[in-house]
């Protein structure tokens, strides 16, 4: 019996005008979106490759230990085509320096890729935002007359004359419509993948395929949530026109208003400037202490060779030839740099402690509040979950910076092992430049899909999924208690 009903629903839906419109609008938008996004990704990848090359050459040019400040670059994530998250916005380059522990908010870590700083004026869109708007709208359009329409036509009464339970009717309507909604969705995902594979830049690993699959599944659940919402409205309101209007208001409220209004208010009323100001002052104190200590030290070679320094974070020196008469000063210079580097590292450690604390109390807390607020709407859950699947959320960015910090630790350990800090090669290359043969290399391996899924994607997806049975049961209960 249920199959007959589903087939009936499916055929009715498939032949409608709105199905055609659905299909065409999905495909057109995904086509346009994929082309832009793929092109965009190619550019970012090219600029990443150029940056890696440049930084490699730059690191190889360093002749002394003090001049070795490698850059770590973050590769663009191909899944940012689906949900760009922070992938384009967060810093994508870390400079490892003795005097600073890398952190996510440093001004120097400008995201490269586009040289036009005005680019943020133009809105960026990704595939998930297209689906977020379109699939929810279409789901409601399929649902608004599911019950109200049948009731208005009188067909509902006819169907109920047969020995069919009301539960079965609701279920078959749901399944039929969901099949109809999933089909164009599946086609547009395939189209998007197809277009992406046209590009030489994008190669998905099996892990990334799993992620795309998970994004698809999340989209289906998201669509289903909106369909059930529409079904509930349709069973509560008797006239189709009213049901449509109410559905549309709810749609605007959930997809457009709730996320923006709540984020607007959170952003406005969570003020972080005072706490950050306090942290800056604290950091200033460390810096001043550093400068005081530094002034006490004497560097006999201050005017020799070339050097570069920036605030308290960096001091480099490269002396290519030491005059014979100055040779006697070398032990003193060694001692100078040994003390200075220890001072730098201590300052970096102290500053980092303050900074980490301040960040967790301001930016991170603010962003966490924002994300928690978003959890109250299906749209927010959808965004959060897909960002976690795509690996473009804040946790991933932090993970990269953690890896950078770890690398800095490894590098410092390596310097200790090489006894670099009190060596002549710290500041002079007259007896030969440092050979960077066995220096530890940085490589970043993003966590696998299971890692991302378990702590971020799945909880949000579960919440989104939980809405489905709740809505279904409510719609069913309302429908059962109604007189036809």
């Amino acid at each position: 019996m249920i199959w007959t009903l589903i087939r009936h629903e499916l055929l009715i839906n498939l032949m409608t005008f709105r199905f055609l419109v659905t299909l065409i609008s999905y495909l057109l938008l995904v086509l346009a979106g994929s082309i832009v996004l793929t092109d965009n990704y190619e550019r970012r990848l090219a600029s990443y490759n150029a940056a890696v090359q440049e930084h490699k050459e730059r690191a190889a040019r360093a002749e002394t230990y003090s001049d070795f400040t490698p850059f770590l670059d973050r590769a663009p994530n191909p899944l940012s085509l689906f949900n760009q998250g922070l992938d384009k916005r967060a810093g994508n380059s870390i400079q490892i320096r003795l005097g600073e522990v890398p952190f996510l908010w440093a001004d120097v870590y400008r995201s490269a890729g586009f040289n036009n700083p005005f680019r943020h004026l133009l809105a960026d869109i990704d595939l998930v935002s297209i689906f977020q708007i379109l699939s929810s709208l279409l789901a409601l359009m399929f649902a608004y007359d599911a019950i109200a329409g049948d009731r208005e036509n009188g067909t509902l009464r006819l169907i109920l004359v047969n020995p069919v339970g009301r539960g079965l009717i609701v279920l078959s309507k749901y399944l039929g419509a969901m099949l109809c909604l999933t089909l164009p969705l599946l086609m547009s995902f395939l189209l998007a993948l197809l277009l992406q594979f046209q590009s030489n830049a994008i190669h998905y690993t099996p892990d990334e395929f799993l992620r795309v699959g998970a994004i698809f599944l999340t989209t289906v659940i998201y669509t289903s949530t909106f369909y059930l919402l529409g079904l509930l409205i349709s069973s509560m309101i008797h006239r189709t026109a009213t049901s449509l209007i109410v559905s549309m208001f709810i749609w605007v409220g959930l997809t457009l208003l709730y996320p923006n209004v709540s984020l607007f208010l959170v952003n406005r009323f969570m003020d972080t400037s005072e706490r950050m100001e306090q942290a800056h002052q604290h950091i200033e104190q460390f810096a001043e202490r550093f400068y005081r200590e530094e002034e006490k030290l004497q560097n006999p070679f201050e005017h020799l060779g070339r050097g570069w320094h920036s605030s308290y974070t960096h001091r480099s020196k490269t002396i290519t030839s030491i005059p014979v008469e100055s040779e006697l000063d070398v032990p003193a210079v060694k001692a100078y740099f040994e003390t200075l580097t220890a001072l730098q590292m201590n300052t970096a450690k102290a500053v980092w402690r303050v900074r980490e604390q301040a960040f967790s109390e301001t930016y991170i807390r603010k962003s966490r509040t924002a994300r928690n607020v978003l959890r109250f709407s299906p749209t927010g859950l959808y965004q959060l979950s897909t960002a976690a699947w795509a690996g473009t959320d804040i946790a991933r960015m932090e993970d990269f910076f953690n890896a950078g910090r770890q690398y800095r630790g490894t590098l410092l350990d390596y310097f200790y092992d090489q006894k670099a800090f009190d060596s002549r090669q710290w500041f002079a290359s007259d007896k030969g430049a440092v050979r960077w043969v066995d220096v530890p290399r940085f490589s970043y391996h993003p966590p696998s899909v299971s890692g991302d899924a378990s702590n971020r994607a799945l909880p949000n997806l579960f919440l989104l999924f939980l809405l489905n049975p709740v809505l279904f049961m409510t719609a069913f209960a309302v429908f059962c208690r109604q007189e036809i």
Partner: protein
């Protein structure tokens, strides 16, 4: 007759569920907007004043020694924040808030006769002072609730909800036939429907605006002068025209189709694509966001490569340092020529780089104008004095001021009888302090004409959209069989 139709329609509209919902939604959003902007403007103004006074203190310090002014210029020039940012946010957080007037900053050393002769390029405008990555960058992206959003997204949506069944609904009920059996011209009927919808949506818009302004006024955040009231009036009118576009669209589709729900389905799809997706996709596609040529602004390495210094070295730049000798030695003249050319070249490159960046955004904006939403957004931003257009005006002001400042430098130098009057080499210019009061100060003027001039084209375009759609609605209604 027209008035009778309008009255009837209006009465029906106002007593409907959608009118109540529309009113609720708009007023709610306007309250959110007001809440979000209470205090914001004061903070902004205070920050601006603080920045400006810091910059002025810098000038005062430099004015004690004339040549410092020549090298460092006026320092940072700040853009005056608009008090109307609650009308249009204009992605101000993605735009630089200042232009830096500063030396070329390439403390160069020439070795002349075995002695170091330090010099640097004299001041010029540098455009790239972009806001650093901020906390907001890890904050999820969201649209700010300003008037632009409320008008562009919400009121257009409401216009469609109001009109989708204007003709199709009456057609389905059969009342259309009854109405037309009276001696009513079809065009009168359609115009009546249009006007009644415009009035009811206008009332919704108006009440939202009033609540918003009242809240801001009561909280003491609304201190506007006459000019700014004109601007608000302008924004209101643009909003009404934009609403009319969508009412006309709704009537057009509603006359084309016979079932109201199909009409709404089509309208909403058009809305999603035209209002939400096109403005955020099309421009980005068309502009192709990469800059081909110079990666960084002019820097010493560039000059070494482009051979400016080498060329002058060949002409004997390193053979003699400029002196205060009278009459001026050839070395002084040559150095002055070199510094002048360096300045012109640096300015030209800075500007070329900026223009390339701006052009890309301009192209994207031109393409985005396919959507009336983008058109409206640009018009409102221009009227509110925020956004990209305003930034360009600010740059123009800064450039004008830069010329004024240079003229001042020359004339201040002329006034000193001990100077050689050879700009801009240190030894050829005055070395006396200049009175701080005589130095021109940067004032970022926002003129009403500029705002209206910036918006007028967009308003015309919007009117064009409206006329085409309204005519289409009329034609299709005339040809409709009922």
């Amino acid at each position: 007759m027209l008035w009778y139709i309008i009255k009837r329609e209006l009465f029906e509209q106002i007593s409907s569920l959608r009118f109540a919902l529309a009113m609720l939604l708009t007023v709610f959003l306007m309250i959110v907007n007001a809440l979000g902007h209470i205090g914001a403007s004061k903070v902004q103004q205070a920050e601006y004043r603080q920045n400006v006074s810091k910059a002025l203190a810098g000038i005062e310090r430099d004015s004690r020694q004339f040549y410092n002014l020549v090298i460092r210029g006026p320092g940072e020039l700040y853009k005056k924040p608009s008090p109307l940012s609650f009308c249009a946010h204009g992605s101000e957080n993605n735009l630089p808030e200042s232009v830096l007037g500063w030396s070329a900053g390439w403390g160069w050393n020439s070795v002349i006769d075995g002695k170091n002769y330090p010099f640097s390029g004299i001041w010029r405008l540098k455009y790239t002072s972009f806001p650093p990555i901020r906390a907001a960058d890890i904050f999820p992206i969201f649209l700010r609730i300003d008037w632009t959003l409320i008008i562009a997204n919400i009121l257009s949506f409401l216009a469609l909800i109001f009109t989708f069944d204007a003709v199709a609904g009456e057609m389905a009920q059969g009342t259309l036939r009854l109405t037309l059996s009276n001696s009513v011209a079809r065009r009168t009927l359609l115009t009546g429907k249009f006007l009644s919808n415009l009035f009811s949506l206008g009332a919704v818009f108006m009440s939202g605006v009033l609540v918003n302004l009242l809240l801001l006024y009561l909280s003491g955040n609304l201190q506007l002068n006459t000019q700014e009231w004109y601007r608000i009036g302008g924004i209101f009118v643009v909003g009404l025209i934009y609403i009319s576009v969508f009412i006309a669209l709704g009537l057009f589709i509603s006359t084309l189709l016979n079932t109201p729900s199909t009409s709404l389905v089509i309208l909403l799809l058009v809305w999603v694509i035209w209002v939400i997706l096109v403005p955020s996709m099309l421009g980005t596609i068309m502009s192709g966001l990469n800059l081909p040529s110079i990666r960084k602004g002019p820097n010493p390495i560039y000059f070494t490569r482009s051979g400016l210094y080498e060329r002058y070295k060949a002409r004997g730049l390193e053979e003699g340092a400029p002196t205060r000798q009278r009459p001026p030695t050839p070395a002084t003249m040559l150095w002055a020529e070199f510094l002048n050319e360096e300045l012109q070249e640096g300015k030209r490159l800075n500007k070329m780089f900026l223009r390339a960046q701006i052009n890309q955004i301009q192209i994207a904006r031109e393409v985005n104008r396919i959507s009336p939403t983008a058109v409206t957004q640009y018009a409102i931003e221009s009227l509110a004095g925020t956004g990209f257009q305003r930034y360009l005006n600010f740059l123009k002001n800064a450039e004008r001021y830069a010329d004024e400042f240079n003229d001042f430098l020359i004339s201040a130098d002329r006034a000193d009888p001990d100077s050689l009057h050879i700009p801009f080499v240190r030894e050829g210019m005055s070395d006396k302090p200049v009175p701080f009061e005589s130095i021109p100060k940067f004032q970022d003027r926002v003129r009403l004409e500029d705002a209206f001039k910036g918006a007028i084209l967009d308003v015309m375009l919007l009117l064009l959209f409206f006329m085409v759609l309204f005519a289409a609605a009329h034609v299709s209604f005339q040809r409709k069989e009922i």
